[in-house]
């Protein structure tokens, strides 16, 4: 038996343990079957443990079983009449699971790529149309930048580390640094959402329609503070669960980062519900028009918070059933990796102002192009140009940045002229 005790660390430990203590009653003796160590098992029961990870196609989340017969002897295989443990499930589903893992992997990559693209487009829109600028849009811009960075880092992590077993095997310091920044950017995402909620709350509930706020504290909370949970996680991980590239998700130390994120989401939800309450009760009678607009502003953030947070609520409960587990995986991956696209859509593409600004720009462009064509084609264009330009529709009102204008501050350069459509989706 000592010779087999040299097989690996597990066999060494098992052999040591086999010798150390003893028991009583009808049971199968503890044993080492060559791959795993099996404890004393009562007669007539089936014992199980997780499959080992010695072989590449063994899935260590599957179960290996061993039968202890009624007479207190381990089950012997009928063909060879030797004691036999059942490891068939360990590599039974492996090809199917590998295929699905690849599908999820490519889904994640596509999701993040789409997110980056849509967020960059939104940022371009916000920077191009300077008239849209105000404090809330500034917060949107910061939120989008943090989402872009998060998606970029995740893409690098997926492509360079997750898909590369030899990098994980080598365990360079760089992949842990990458993991640290990944956790930091994840925190930034959710803390910027919190900043949006706090801003709206301060604007509407606390200091109604007041002057501009100082954004320094928001920058601190959004960019600076997420360093704290990320650093604590790195220190704890290094000291207590220092696996290769910190890839394992089987540890509760991840809650060091996810706990504050969930706290931020809950606080955000509370603020937004408070805003809705205030808008509904207090401003309904006095400032009807403004309360409608702010309700629309809050609606977008209120939709996003549960969507962004729901993955943290349902994450721990993966169903045991195979089919349900697969559906769960697909839903979780969509929720996690397409968030940037969702945020860009709700905060930018569904924003009434942005849509109006784009339409106006398109009309202007068409008019200019038409004018140029007419200039090219004929000399008698002057009367046409006059009418085509003045066709721009009438008055626009700044929904989003309304508060800054209500106190009589005139923004001379940007009284844009866009149609005010009531009941338009305003985000």
């Amino acid at each position: 038996m000592q010779r087999r005790c040299f097989h690996s660390e597990s066999s060494f430990v098992c052999c040591v343990w086999l010798y150390v203590a003893g028991g009583a009653g009808l049971y199968c003796n503890r044993t080492w079957d060559g791959w795993l160590c099996w404890d004393d098992t009562p007669a007539g029961t089936v014992t199980w443990q997780n499959c080992p990870n010695y072989f590449p196609d063994f899935d260590s989340t599957e179960k290996a079983t061993k039968i202890c017969s009624e007479s207190g002897q381990w089950f012997r295989h009928p063909d060879t009449n030797r004691t036999w443990s059942n490891y068939t499930l360990c590599n039974f589903h492996t090809t199917g699971k590998l295929k699905m893992a690849y599908i999820l992997y490519y889904m994640a990559i596509v999701g993040h790529a789409l997110s980056i693209a849509s967020l960059l487009i939104s940022l371009a829109i916000f920077f191009y149309f300077r008239n849209l600028s105000c404090q809330r849009i500034t917060l949107h811009k910061n939120l989008f930048v943090s989402y872009v960075l998060n998606s970029a880092l995740t893409l690098i992590y997926l492509i360079a580390v997750v898909n590369n077993p030899d990098v994980v095997g080598r365990n360079p310091v760089g992949c842990k640094v990458l993991h640290f920044f990944h956790m930091y950017m994840l925190g930034c995402n959710y803390f910027w959402m919190l900043c949006e909620g706090i801003y709206l709350h301060t604007l509407i509930v606390v200091a109604v329609f007041a002057e501009e706020q100082h954004l320094h504290w928001y920058y601190l909370l959004g960019w600076g503070f997420p360093l704290v949970p990320a650093s604590i996680h790195a220190v704890a991980r290094k000291k207590y669960f220092d696996d290769n590239c910190w890839m394992s998700v089987e540890t509760h130390l991840l809650y060091v980062v996810h706990g504050p994120i969930m706290a931020a989401l809950l606080v955000n939800l509370f603020f937004l519900l408070n805003i809705v309450r205030v808008l509904v009760t207090k401003l309904r009678d006095t400032h009807r028009a403004e309360s409608n607009m702010y309700m629309k502003a809050v609606r977008a953030t209120l939709i996003l918070v549960p969507l962004l947070g729901i993955q943290f609520v349902i994450f721990p409960w993966r169903p045991e059933n195979r089919l349900a587990g697969e559906v769960y995986d697909y839903i979780m991956h969509i929720l996690m990796h397409y968030q940037g696209l969702l945020v860009a859509t709700i905060f930018c593409f569904f924003n009434g102002e942005v849509q109006a600004a784009l339409k106006r720009q398109w009309i202007q462009y068409k008019a200019q192009w038409g004018q140029r064509r007419r200039d090219h084609c004929s000399m008698r264009s002057t009367s046409y140009t006059a009418t085509s330009i003045t066709e721009v529709p009438a008055f626009m009102y700044h929904h989003d940045c309304n508060s800054e204008h209500l106190n009589g501050r005139h923004t001379s350069e940007d009284s844009e002229l866009v149609a005010l459509k009531t009941g338009e989706t305003y985000a």
Binding site: E9, A210, H214, W217, Y218, L221, G259, A263
Partner: protein
């Protein structure tokens, strides 16, 4: 390790034993010639490293080889009951509190894990309150 009994000396010592008794004499032989070196090796290791596979594999391997060689020279079958009992005593002395899963990575105990999780959450809530308070103050109430 530089000191220690070279295998050749053990072999020669064994050959000098006249009666090939694979019971008591064998047991005496392995305790005399093999255990000493193993004890010295393990004492060199810090006690906390006794459960570490990488650190103990070499002395343990030498010990096993030593018992095997003596058995070979004494024409005894190996492994045998004396060797088993010998190893049981060694395990009880040196490895009695090693955990079954070895050095598999595990979460720290709850009294360490708890603060690591709770403190960032509290700091988050404090920071949020601070930002709300500061943004409130920076314009006052209209």
């Amino acid at each position: 390790m530089a000191t220690g009994i070279p295998p050749r000396a053990i072999v020669e010592a064994c050959q000098s034993v006249s009666v090939m008794a694979c019971g008591g004499t064998y047991e005496y032989a392995i305790e005399e010639f093999c255990l000493g070196k193993f004890r010295l090796d393990m004492e060199e290791l810090d006690q906390h490293h006794w459960c570490s596979w990488e650190d103990t594999v070499e002395p343990y391997g030498e010990l096993t080889n030593c018992t095997y060689l003596i058995a070979l020279k004494m024409d005894c079958f190996w492994p045998n009951r004396q060797v088993d009992e010998f190893f049981i005593r060694i395990h009880k002395h040196y490895f009695h509190d090693c955990s079954l899963s070895g050095r598999q990575l595990r979460d720290p105990p709850n009294h360490i894990l708890g603060p690591f999780i709770v403190v960032p959450i509290l700091v988050t809530l404090l920071m949020t309150a601070l930002v709300v308070w500061r943004s409130k103050r920076s314009e006052g109430i209209v």
